[in-house]
């Protein structure tokens, strides 16, 4: 289909472009920006006057719950499109875990049928995610896994992690790790500190993150494996990543959007919507996250979306499932961060478009001639109230329920095809 998007404010973080221009799309790719290619006859024209035209968001972590929950993928993909997200990385902590080529093929097939955002599956690093034996990661890469992850925490056995890194390095495959040392995190449900102490909540010390990072970096020095660190939460952890990058280790990292805004005090009177993993930490940690985003230590922001049913959230804080629905609030919360911290729009959008695409090594997240036409159109000043029941996702629990936010997707285009319009 030939598509013309007229008069929008085109923001392309990869090139720094920010100007009102027309975008022309043909055969699923950007044909030109500015003047129409010769002989271009649009089959469809979208008037984007007053809207921003940006690359579709690339979300480095969104749980789709398939395999496991039948029909979940289709529903969550709708939520992704409603959030202006055109690419989602799915972690392998499904039921069963994504540790077999057959499962990955099936998931990709269902994703094609769902016609939502592009799916980037993460394969399990170890069989059953048990942290004991390696999964067939080279075969999994062959069928479409973009990287290999251990979810939750590092493998309990450092020897397994060392061998996994060596093996991944053999095939130059990236490993994605949560910087959590399970023996220190224990059964904690809140960040160690005054809030957890006062509320009497079992706590997770910051050392659970820093010790894990020391382990990761030391084993990287030994193996040269490429690692993406998922969901940093602490000032101390960010400082370690900063030093590792300065040293030249092949490492990238992300944070979840909620940790850009919230701290442990916001838990208030045990509100289970604020039970997140990693737990919310203090204001010093949040400020360090904001600084880490500004200086490039933190590459990307993800939604860390978890579609949790009401029955798993209507529980005492420590028993509630950790996580929040976030696909549909990622874009407005990025805009909120940009406004509150005076981050230029181009730089803010980079953290959810070009930067995560670079982490993935995918040719997306930019508006350039020849690139995949994955786009979002939005009005950055459109006010809307977060009404959980109105969200497309199965997950309704968000710390931002009832909030007035600004900006949301009016149209989401994947591969040149408008798949969502509001």
């Amino acid at each position: 289909m030939k598509l013309a998007i007229r008069n929008g404010r085109v923001i392309d973080p990869a090139s720094g472009r920010d100007e009102v221009a027309d975008v022309f799309v043909a055969d699923g790719r950007i044909a030109s920006v500015g003047g129409a290619p010769s002989g271009f006859v649009a089959e469809r024209t979208i008037d984007a006057r007053g809207l921003i035209v940006a690359p579709g968001l690339v979300d480095l972590c969104a749980r789709m719950r398939e395999p496991g929950a039948e029909g979940a993928l289709k529903r969550e993909m709708r939520a992704a499109l409603a959030g202006g997200i055109t690419g989602v990385v799915c972690p392998p902590d499904t039921d069963p875990p994504l540790d077999e080529p057959g499962l990955v093929r099936m998931l990709r097939q269902r994703s094609r049928e769902a016609a939502g955002a592009r799916l980037y599956p993460l394969g399990a690093l170890t069989a059953g995610l048990k942290g004991e034996a390696l999964a067939e990661i080279e075969t999994l890469a062959e069928v479409g896994c973009v990287a290999f992850a251990q979810t939750g925490s590092l493998p309990h056995d450092n020897g397994v992690l060392l061998q996994a890194m060596r093996y991944a390095k053999t095939f130059d495959l990236p490993i994605w790790l949560r910087p959590v040392e399970d023996t220190l995190a224990g059964n904690g449900v809140a960040a160690a500190g005054a809030v957890a102490g006062r509320l009497g909540l079992p706590s997770i010390p910051v050392e659970a993150e820093t010790v894990a990072l020391h382990t990761i970096f030391e084993l990287q020095r030994a193996t040269g494996a490429r690692v993406h660190v998922c969901r940093l939460s602490s000032a101390a952890g960010i400082e370690l990543v900063r030093a590792a990058k300065r040293e030249g280790l092949p490492v990238t990292c992300d944070v979840g959007i909620h940790h850009v805004h919230l701290i442990d005090v916001d838990i208030g009177y045990f509100d289970p919507a604020f039970r997140l993993d990693p737990p919310l930490r203090g204001d010093r940690d949040r400020d360090a996250i904001v600084r880490g985003l500004a200086d490039g230590t933190i590459d990307a922001i993800c939604s860390d979306h978890a579609p949790i049913g009401a029955e798993d959230k209507l529980l005492p804080f420590g028993e509630a499932a950790p996580g929040a629905t976030a696909l549909e609030t990622l874009l407005p919360l990025v805009l909120k961060w940009a406004r509150e911290r005076d981050v230029p729009l181009v730089a803010a959008l980079a953290k959810v478009t070009s930067a995560p695409a670079r982490v993935l090594g995918e040719d997306t997240g930019r508006i350039a001639v020849g690139a995949k036409a994955d786009l979002v159109l939005f009005d950055p000043d459109e006010h809307w109230r977060v009404t959980p029941e109105a969200l497309a996702s199965h997950g309704k629990s968000t710390p931002f329920a009832g909030y007035e936010l600004e900006g949301r997707a009016r149209a989401t285009i994947v591969g040149g095809e408008p798949r969502f319009q509001r």
Binding site: G200, F270, L314, G318, G402
Partner: protein
């Protein structure tokens, strides 16, 4: 984060105590009113007819998701002396084992015309979830949630201290033992600091002290001798059996050597210092029998006062207007 979750969920729009969930955030006047009301009930216990009709026709459900004979019994006595209809549910062994959720249980009991729930639960914050969920006329009393709070114990402890020491403004109070896991310690600290006790001390090994004691207004001591020197009140905490051996403590014997209150150590406190314990005691672990049964122990009066304080809480909460 909704507005209702930010407001103190214990108070109604008139500032009245509608639920008792924690002492944290309670205005001093409410605490003082509870203590004064308890005074009036102390005499009830000494009368021939021990009952007053304040809660006649009301249904109080004791919901103990964690077993505790002692606390449940004192709540039951308090409610009966107020002429309430009391129902004890041993939830630990019934509905939740059949897979019914906490809030389903609450809904079912509300349908049985419950007016008040007295809740004990192993998870910190569980009574807040229940209080947010119940109908506007229903009251929730926290009888102990996880490590978080045990507000009626905190209130009976300050009642006891007031009985023996009269004035809070000059006291040094030492709380000794497993503060990390103790809901009693947290409630005591909030009650004492709200009432103006100038020095509240937290005493224990670093493995049993939570973060943030300074923010709560405590001075921290790791040596028992330093922590109780010159104290007016010593509150000894119970050491749970499962903590006596492991990564937090090597043995009950070593704990007693360092933190057990003996007559020799008690001599470091003020001569008229009182010794308290929320019970049940582990004699020879946190406290020497000579201290527990000695002249400075007020452990049994604590239990007696506990009934009057719980009567005060039940009657005050029951008289508040419905939540908006």
């Amino acid at each position: 984060m909704t507005a209702s979750m930010n407001r103190n969920p214990q108070l109604n729009a008139h500032g009245e105590l509608h639920h008792l969930l924690s002492i944290e955030g309670l205005p001093r006047e409410i605490i003082e009113r509870i203590l004064a009301t308890a005074d009036s009930f102390i005499n009830v216990a000494e009368r021939e007819v021990k009952n007053v009709p304040l809660l006649r026709g009301r249904s109080v459900f004791n919901l103990f998701f964690e077993t505790s004979t002692r606390t449940r019994t004192t709540f039951e006595i308090a409610a009966r002396r107020l002429s309430a209809d009391v129902f004890n549910l041993d939830i630990a062994r019934s509905s939740t084992s059949k897979g019914e959720s906490l809030l389903d249980t609450i809904d079912n009991l509300t349908a049985m015309q419950a007016d008040m729930f007295v809740v004990r639960h192993a998870s910190s914050g569980a009574p807040y979830l229940i209080a947010r969920h119940v109908a506007p006329h229903v009251h929730v009393i926290n009888a102990g949630d996880g490590r978080h709070a045990h507000p009626t114990q905190g209130l009976l402890d300050v009642y006891t201290i007031r009985h023996y020491k009269r004035d809070f403004n000059r006291l040094v109070v030492a709380i000794v033992g497993d503060i990390l896991h103790s809901r009693v310690a947290r409630s005591d600290i909030h009650a004492l600091t709200t009432l103006g006790v100038p020095e509240v001390r937290a005493v224990g090994p670093l493995t049993l002290l939570p973060a943030g004691l300074g923010e709560l207004g405590c001075r921290v001591f790791t040596k028992l001798e330093d922590g109780i020197r010159g104290a007016d009140v010593i509150i000894m905490l119970r050491l749970q059996n499962e903590r006596m051996r492991g990564a937090l403590l090597p043995s009950a014997q070593e704990y007693f050597r360092n933190y057990g209150l003996t007559p020799e150590k008690l001599a470091l406190a003020k001569p008229d210092a009182i010794v308290m314990h929320p019970g049940p005691m582990n004699r020879g672990v946190e406290i020497d029998s000579r201290v527990a049964d000695g002249g400075q122990s007020v452990i049994l009066p604590q239990v007696t006062f506990g009934i009057a304080v719980r009567m005060a809480v039940l009657s005050i909460v029951a008289s508040s207007k419905a939540m908006q």
